[in-house]
Symmetry: C2
């Protein structure tokens, strides 16, 4: 998921000329996770101190979030998180109390998402703390970003913009920033239901992620600004729309399905709110009804736009 | 694999209290790789600039080595490397020529070891370059460090000390430092043959790694200094023994088997040299015949002993 202009060039360099050895994946690079022959989903997400977190997050929050964001990617493909490896690079002198806090949050999330830590390594870092996690798990019926069809209704789970509001304003949104709780089991249920055409998680903001879903599905989309589900804090914020579409860290599901399936989908989602926010169109491009799209934020702390 | 005194504390903090969710692995944390139910081997190894490489390695060497050291871990458990994810953290402004060089070496090694890059992520790093790779592959008959028995003969593949000599003295050993070529297919063949009792790769030096094998197998070992296989450069070096046992980056196999199986083992190993270097003993501790053990080096460039 490119987070700055340089990232696209890096990914291109890594993928161009990549040897195509062994059996091809069922879902290849470019979706939330890859799905290997046999139905193993594997994804990797890294958090770098000063880029993906600052002192708003405790060490335990960082450990929790690292597991949650990876579980979010798996769930958004319909995979059940099962195991992970952790590569942790830490500066010296070693701050062991940081490590213990990190481990406590990591363990809490591993228990919450049902994931076993099976390996990894630790290295010295002459720079910031870097925590790279790879997570795997079985997937019976993978769902990608590519299956959306013009006319599909667009749905999101939960509320959008909480983490952004928490980062900008403090308050209750801080909990969403610190301890994201992606609806992983619902992602699996939606994928296995066969009711859904395309799905992904919202990690980089609705505008950015919906653009990706539309690109993969070769269509456009129209979103109703007033329909975007908001917590009371976000609903009351003067930056409501920017928080909801132009930031990130929501870790909710974005998916498409024929509108008439809403009752069946609501039955599946149980207590998790599920909101229709618009539709996919044949015409390319993203349209926002009732407002202008705010410019997507570079939501990583301290990211420089020049690179 | 602890590379400094702080690393053990980090690993303890991460593993103590780790939730034991889901089915237990066949081989758990603490061996070269984990083996999950169903026979999937997974391992992770990270390289940090200034810690695991300096300017003796080109960007392409770094890309090659990252794949090779991970493939080495899998092969040493009897697993066939199949896929990997890569998490790459790079400073800005972005040096795209570094990325292209890295990708070229990475791709060459992926082709050589038969591994498909299926995912990962790239992030900005305010510090050094960090490349974390997780590799997986099937294993029919996992071999761990724990199966060694007193009386077993100790074997190593290839020659020892080349990378150390290359690092210290330059010359032909530089190739081993830059482009390690672990005998991965031989590791798989040895594991599947049923001839071998315990196996691991030598990545941190014979002294350190043999200590780990002995700890896992609950025994000691005696090594014949004169028997350690050496290339001409290492054989001629005044630091021969230190290079061979106290450094690292050999990426050869260390394994134990009844001595009388040597002919059958040699038949399996084909062109790869296979040398008996000693035996496992019931008495704990490592004994070196014909010399004193040199103190293990902290072989990571720039590692500080104080942490």
């Amino acid at each position: 998921m490119p987070d700055d202009p340089g990232e696209r060039s890096i990914i291109d360099a890594l993928l161009e000329g990549r040897p195509r050895v062994g059996p091809p994946p069922i879902v290849d690079v470019g979706d939330d996770v890859a799905v290997l022959p046999g139905g193993l989903a594997v994804g990797a997400d890294t958090m770098v101190e000063g880029v993906h977190w600052d002192d708003k997050l405790s060490p335990a929050d960082v450990g929790w979030k690292l597991v949650a964001v990876n579980a979010s990617d798996l769930g958004a493909t319909g995979a059940r998180p099962a195991w992970c490896t952790l590569s942790l690079s830490l500066p010296r002198p070693l701050d062991l109390s940081w490590v213990r806090g990190f481990a406590a949050g990591l363990h809490a999330a591993l228990a919450a998402f049902g994931v076993r830590l099976v390996g990894g390594d630790t290295t010295r870092s002459p720079g910031p703390r870097v925590a790279a996690l790879t997570m795997g798990g079985p997937v019976a019926r993978p769902l990608t970003r590519a299956g959306g069809r013009p006319g599909d209704a667009l749905f999101v789970t939960g509320t959008l913009g909480d983490a952004a509001a928490g980062f900008a304003e403090g308050g209750p949104g801080l909990a969403a920033l610190r301890r994201p709780a992606p609806p992983v089991a619902l992602g699996v249920a939606l994928a296995e239901s066969g009711l859904v055409n395309a799905m992904m998680d919202i990690s980089d903001g609705l505008f950015t992620d919906l653009s990706r879903l539309c690109a993969a599905s070769r269509c456009g989309a129209t979103v109703e600004a007033a329909a975007l589900p908001a917590s009371p804090q976000v609903a009351a914020s003067p930056q409501r729309l920017a928080h909801q579409v132009a930031w990130g860290d929501d870790y909710q599901l974005l998916f498409t399905a024929p509108a008439e399936r809403l009752p069946a989908l609501r039955q599946l989602s149980g207590d998790t709110p599920l909101t229709p926010i618009g539709r996919l169109d044949a015409a390319p491009g993203l349209r926002l009804v009732g407002a202008d799209w705010p410019a997507p934020a570079l939501h990583h702390f301290g990211d420089s736009p020049a690179c």
